[in-house]
């Protein structure tokens, strides 16, 4: 079983380490306490709505705890959800934490800080003459990026987001570095000091970002400016663009520095506070923080990299899907999550995870390694509406959210949502929704749907509802198509993992159209992100930017890596890892000269590299390029260039095995709790279906469609002609081939 959570990990990136079996029970720096006494790993993921905890211990089933998130003081929800898990173990929070040796954590705190604009008043010091770079966003780029078709076609109505920093909190100072990293103009220190005084004095900023042209090649001027800030305004929180995003492209790099400065103090305060609260409850071990690239960092290191925490929840979700895929022997996985407001999807290809190329957070550009997760505004709460002029129906992008929520919740929601449609076509059981915590008002949903949708369409309620269901299914299909087929990946090679409250309802329909191999509704679907935390390793990312030709001398590459490796080794050693538990993965961004698209290509060969390893790298790049950009897209005549040299240094964390359960016979009759009419896609109408209680289904049991399985947290629809089974890990699996 592979247990590596590293983003590019998985398949033999580093032979010297890979040859050894993964040391599941190995000791390392975090494990020095007595393993029998401190046997638990606790992982808590803070999402926008819910905070999930998973507790794992060797040889025991997962314990899951769920509580509501408590913004803006998220630590409260963290302790609440740990308490829910502890209760199931008949332990107090203190008792559980006292026996915990590792706490892993993902949090939406940075996303939330940006979304609610609650960061620190921030200033920017930049190269004189280029003060407007972050405001003008490379022209309309910052206006249209990440926006849907409707928005892009309507320029008169579309603005940029309001900037995070005010226009009078930007100071240009005389300094200049050129494209080679040569300092043409040393930093004007007097002017810089004046700028700092202006920012903290007149403008009352509490955080300062420093972003100079070409600083990723030569950071001297930025560092001198930082020294001045620290001298003149020692309380200010400082971020250097060359630290946080040492890559070319001053707009994105500056924007990243601004975001990090803006959210930095809050994020680091949050982590310090959380650590203190955990310590107050008796926890003595380290706090590991999830990064958007799917690896963990010790909290003291994560604290200075607020941008690293952006969207770390969805990233953990992809890591969780990868861990499950590894466990089940599936290297190619589409991880789809559909909750109340959005449908999110990430792809694991051959055990590897794709990075986002031009990431955005709340419409701001930033640059940081981040797992690609794409999303559309389609969830259970998405509002169903008709174009008033043409009567053409649409689902989303607006959402009724959790409050007031769908009409059938009876909490005052008046607009029809997708969940209402699911209710009308028999997929939801009105009495046992969310484990019976809530009943659904079908009559109200029906009346609203008839008035708002079916009536104006001139269709009977059921028929209109089928149509809406199909539109939602088609939207999701199109999104998955976008992230697979449009990137040269064939969904037929993939297993679909369906997470979230709504995804397993639709999955049997859209997965059939995409023609995936099988659907897996994971046992841990509701706490997938927390599970991802447990599956991740400590990963430090290092990189150096320079351009070398493809036929460069291998020694030049090794020379670039030498200092990175030294830094990485020291870091991992300081964290207490034995060298045997670490892996150093090299990857290089390559492109065809005169083209603009780079492909991050892992170095599989010998390291330090020799001629053979280099040749392997080039071959891999060419294959990857054509797969990604299409056959015939490679432009070999111009030669190949290497532009970015990355080192991913991981330290493997100890974690327990998941014990498979024994398989029983196929009969699931004991779990059947009823029969009702549901919409059956292939029959284009309602038909009787068996209804099952997930908690009664045992591994090995099989269920023939049409059927519905209700779990405490979601609903699984099995369409006509499909067969679902529970596997030895309690996942529900629908095989297509």
């Amino acid at each position: 079983m592979k247990r590596r959570g590293s983003v590019r990990g998985g398949s033999g990136l580093n032979e010297e380490v890979q040859l050894k079996p993964a040391p599941i029970h190995a000791r390392n720096g975090f494990m020095n306490a007595d393993a029998t006494e401190k046997r638990f790993i606790v992982a808590t993921d803070v999402g926008g709505t819910c905070t999930d905890t998973v507790v794992v211990a060797p040889g025991e089933a997962f314990i899951m705890g769920k509580a509501l998130s408590t913004p803006p003081d998220f630590a409260g929800g963290v302790l609440d959800s740990i308490a829910v898990a502890a209760r199931q173990m008949d332990l107090s929070v203190e008792a559980l934490l006292a026996r915990t040796h590792l706490f892993m954590h993902g949090s939406t705190v940075v996303d939330n800080t940006l979304l609610t604009r609650s960061g620190a008043p921030t200033g920017l010091i930049t190269t004189g003459g280029f003060e407007d770079t972050v405001f003008v966003t490379r022209g309309a780029y910052g206006r249209w990026a990440g926006q849907p078709e409707d928005w892009i076609k309507h320029p008169v109505a579309s603005d940029r987001p309001v900037p995070l920093i005010s226009e009078d909190a930007v100071c240009g100072v005389p300094e200049r570095v050129d494209y080679k990293g040569e300092i043409l103009l040393p930093l004007d220190e007097a002017e810089t000091e004046r700028a700092v005084r202006h920012l903290v004095g007149d403008r009352q900023v509490e955080a300062i970002a420093i972003a100079f042209l070409w600083s990723f090649y030569n950071a001297d001027n930025e560092r001198r400016a930082r020294d001045i800030v620290q001298r003149v305004a020692p309380d200010a929180y400082v971020t250097l663009s060359s630290d946080i995003a040492p890559v070319p492209g001053e707009y994105e790099r500056s924007s990243t520095a601004v975001i990090n400065a803006y959210a930095g103090r809050l994020a680091s305060g949050y982590l310090t506070d959380l650590k203190a609260q955990l310590a107050g409850q008796g926890y003595e071990g380290p706090v590991m923080v999830m990064q958007g690239y799917g690896g963990l960092l010790p909290s003291q290191e994560a604290a200075d990299r607020a941008v690293g925490m952006i969207e770390c929840g969805p990233a953990a979700g992809v890591i969780g899907a990868k861990a499950l895929g590894d466990l089940m022997g599936d290297a190619d996985v589409i991880a789809a999550d559909m909750g109340g407001t959005t449908f999110k999807v990430g792809v694991i290809q051959n055990g590897e995870i794709e990075y986002a190329r031009e990431p955005l957070v709340d419409r701001y550009h930033y640059v940081a390694p981040k797992i690609e997760v794409v999303s559309i505004g389609a969830g259970g709460g998405s509002i169903v509406s008709l174009d008033p002029r043409t009567n053409v129906p649409r689902v989303g992008p607006h959402s009724a959210g959790a409050d007031p929520g769908p009409v059938c919740y009876g909490r005052g929601g008046t607009e029809v949502t997708l969940t209402d449609v699911f209710t009308l076509i028999g997929y939801m059981d009105p009495d046992i929704f969310l484990d019976g915590a809530m009943t659904l008002d079908i009559a109200a949903a029906r009346t609203a749907f008839e008035t708002q949708v079916a009536g104006p369409l001139g269709l009977p309620v059921e028929e209109a509802a089928f149509g809406i269901f199909r539109i939602a299914s088609a939207q999701v299909t199109d999104l998955i198509h976008e992230i697979t087929v449009e990137r040269g990946l064939d969904p037929r090679d993939y297993v679909l993992h369906a997470f979230g409250g709504s995804c397993p309802i639709l999955a049997s329909s859209f997965a059939a159209e995409l023609n995936v191999k099988r659907i897996v509704v994971p046992y841990t679907a509701s706490v997938n992100c927390a599970l991802g935390l447990v599956s991740a390793d400590i990963v430090h990312e290092y990189s150096v930017t320079t351009t070398l030709p493809g036929d460069t001398d291998p020694e030049r590459i090794n020379a670039l890596y030498a200092p990175l490796i030294e830094k990485a080794r020291a870091q991992l050693a300081a964290e207490g890892f034995d060298e045997a538990d670490t892996a150093l993965d090299w990857s290089i961004d390559l492109r065809y000269a005169r083209q603009v698209h780079e492909v991050t290509t892992p170095v599989y060969g010998r390291k330090p590299v020799d001629a053979a390893a280099l040749k392997g790298l080039i071959d891999d790049f060419e294959a990857l390029y054509e797969r990604k950009y299409g056959k015939g897209s490679a432009y070999r005549e111009a030669g190949i260039e290497m532009t970015l040299f990355r080192l991913s240094a991981s330290g493997r964390l100890q974690r327990p095995d998941i014990e498979p359960l024994p398989l029983e016979g196929p009969d699931a009759g004991h779990a059947r709790i009823g029969r009702r009419e549901i919409f059956v896609d292939a029959r284009d109408g309602m038909a009787p279906a068996d209804i099952y209680d997930f908690t009664e289904i045992r591994p090995g049991n099989e269920i023939a469609g049409p059927a519905v399985v209700h779990t405490p947290i979601t609903t699984i629809v099995v369409q006509d002609g499909q067969r679902a089974r529970m596997d030895e890990l309690r996942n529900i699996v629908i095989d297509f081939r």
Binding site: G128, F130, D132, R138, V156, D168, E486, V596, G630, Y635
Partner: protein, 611 residues
């Protein structure tokens, strides 16, 4: 047709175009395609009429329809599955020779069912000047390779002889080859996806949906036009080239549910390459029409039906062969864009319901400046200053225009980072920032444009050259709306700093922070090829968008804010906005402002009395 299937097919058609665009950008390596988004992909019906217009340079949507029709006429009976045709003759359908169309028939079960078409501005087309814009061209014959229709791919196989002929006539053939390759890949993707759509829903259903989509767009636009007031609106755009000034004069008449664009009164065709052909003019007026009137309507043939264009032959907007047209896209076509934006804006502004959709003219004067020469790595480089794609927004009836906010005819453009340019060209930027007083004053201000200056840096030849076909330096072009002022004119300045005799020769200009800091001899340049050698600098400032409403109605505090951020000067605050700031410019002097505004109003009514 059932609304569900219709909705799904419509969405799929859009996705097809989007995916083909991504393919195009992935394969093409050029900055103009990837940063400027100077490209287009669309789907057409079997007869060549527009089915699904993509988001790209919008003045190509109708021209590429004409390109499909021209290919149908020329190759009737000999159009086969897997063929791809090339067309770039402006007198047949294209806008200028460097915007090459590749159009590809899509066959299903042996029957021609649709076309896909795309274009990119190719790296070079072999015109007199590098990069495609040829200010020195005298006629179409000097504007490079040009074809009224030729088969480039025959039944799936590239005709290497044809490709080699093209590549034989252009600079940097390897880059042009890449452009061609990107367009072939793009058409292939569009065809494959279209066929799988037909495969899933059946030809008859898809065909019916396409027909309905077109009819629906027509109905929707006609409904919208019927809701707008009848009337006539005019716009006059001045366009200079070298030492001449031309006019594009537009009268737009709206009656019932139809709209007529009449260019009668425009200048006779020019001796310079700013002319455009009638297909280009048609595209030019549709480019703003799609996003301004059809922001919520699918862009297809149905939108074209209620529109009529009158463009007298032999004028700058319908020139006759062999007039040169290589600068058309930033010349007469853009003036047509601007004029149409202006008249449509006026019409919308006069409607109660659609007032919020009205806008002053956005970024009205593109500057095509192609730098070329040997770069610091020893390679030959040609490339446009992509800053021209950064644009600036026109003011709206409810808000300021967006500073450096793009443009209407190309909704998803952007400019390159300074570091990207400096990495590939032997030049260095001195500054790049918003230009003071560039946005058109008004109750709502036009979005600001920018200014930048570059100098040679590490050039193996001591510098490079550039081709400029700049306009808008003599006349403001981004018209205001409802009393708003136009955006400022552009400026293009060659700071000559190599003359030993020069008075200020010893002043170090290497880190100058403004044009005023550059004491060399300043010469305005707009047309032709110029050096950027030694200590020379090139300064470019581009216009902001037009303003909306009377500047005297602008909230004085907002004017103060603009002064603080440097977007408006204290002088303009006083002279144009009638806002008096106190001594150090930190606050508004309310009483003095009111008095000044009163006197300015009075002066408008009784100019003599004020004197």
């Amino acid at each position: 047709m059932d609304p569900i299937t219709f909705s799904i097919i419509r969405h799929r058609l859009f996705r097809i175009v989007d995916e083909a665009v991504i393919t195009l950008k992935h394969v093409s390596g050029s900055a103009i395609t990837n940063e400027g988004h100077d490209l287009m992909v669309s789907l057409y019906r079997a007869d060549g009429s527009l089915l699904m217009g993509g988001v790209g340079f919008l003045h190509h949507l109708t021209s590429a329809a004409e390109a499909c029709k021209a290919i149908i006429r020329r190759f009737e009976g000999d159009i086969n599955e897997g063929d791809i045709f090339l067309l770039n003759d402006p007198y047949t359908a294209a806008l200028h020779t460097s915007d090459i169309y590749l159009v590809s028939p899509i066959h299903h079960d042996g029957r021609l069912v649709a076309w896909s078409a795309c274009f990119v501005h190719v790296y070079d087309i072999g015109a007199m000047n590098p990069g495609g814009f040829a200010p020195d061209a005298q006629d179409i014959y000097t504007e490079g390779f040009s074809s009224p229709g030729i088969r480039l791919v025959e039944k799936g196989a590239l005709r290497q002889d044809v490709m080699d002929t093209l590549l034989n006539m252009v600079r940097s053939p390897e880059m042009v080859s890449l452009d061609m390759r990107s367009m072939i890949a793009c058409n292939n993707v569009a065809r494959d996806r279209m066929l799988s759509l037909i495969g899933k829903y059946g030809y008859d259903t898809v065909d019916a949906a396409c027909q309905e989509l077109i009819d629906q767009s027509e109905d929707l636009l006609r409904q919208r036009l019927a809701e707008l007031p009848d009337g006539q609106w005019q716009s006059r755009q001045y366009l200079e080239a070298k030492d001449e000034v031309y006019e594009v004069f537009l009268t737009m008449t709206k009656k019932g549910d139809e709209l007529v664009f009449d260019f009668t009164g425009s200048s006779p065709q020019a001796a310079y390459s700013v002319n455009c052909t009638k297909w280009a003019s048609l595209g030019g007026l549709f480019a703003p029409l799609f996003p301004l009137l059809c922001y919520d309507i699918t862009w297809n043939e149905g939108v074209i039906r209620p529109i009529e264009m009158i463009a007298p032959e032999g004028t700058i907007v319908n020139c006759t062969r062999p007039a040169p047209v290589s600068v058309a896209t930033v010349g007469a076509i853009q003036s047509v864009n601007n004029a149409a934006c202006s008249t449509i804006g006026k019409m919308l502004e006069s409607s109660g319901k659609y007032r919020g959709e009205a806008t002053a003219v956005w970024h009205a004067n593109h500057f095509a400046i192609f730098k070329f020469g040997r770069n610091q790595h020893g390679g030959e480089a040609i490339g446009i200053f992509t800053e021209t794609f950064a644009g600036s927004g026109g003011a709206r009836t409810f808000a300021d225009g967006i500073d450096v906010g793009g443009e209407i005819p190309n909704p998803i453009s952007r400019m390159a980072n300074v570091e990207t340019v400096e990495a590939g060209f032997p030049i260095r930027y001195l500054f790049r920032r918003r230009m003071t007083d560039s946005g058109g004053p008004g109750k709502y201000r036009g979005g600001a444009g920018m200014e930048f200056a570059v100098m040679p840096h590490d050039s193996p030849d001591g510098g490079i050259h550039y081709v400029i076909s700049g306009k808008g330096a003599d006349f403001p072009m981004s018209d205001g709306l409802a009393g708003g002022y136009p955006g400022a004119p552009n400026s293009y300045v060659w700071v000559r700093n190599n003359d030993a005799e020069q008075a200020n020769k010893n002043v170090d200009t290497r880190f100058a922070q403004s044009l005023d800091d550059m004491p060399g001899e300043q010469e305005s340049v707009t047309w032709g090829v110029f050096p950027l050698m030694g200590e020379d600098a090139l300064y470019v400032g581009w216009n902001g968008g037009g303003g909306y409403g009377d500047p005297l109605e602008r909230d004085p505090e907002t004017v103060l804010e603009d002064c603080r951020t440097g977007v408006v000067s204290a002088r303009s605050a006083r002279d144009v906005y009638g806002v008096v700031l106190d001594g150090d410019g930190g606050t508004v002097d309310a009483a003095a402002t009111e008095a000044l505004r009163r006197s300015m109003y009075a002066e408008r009514l009784y100019p003599e009395a004020a004197e």
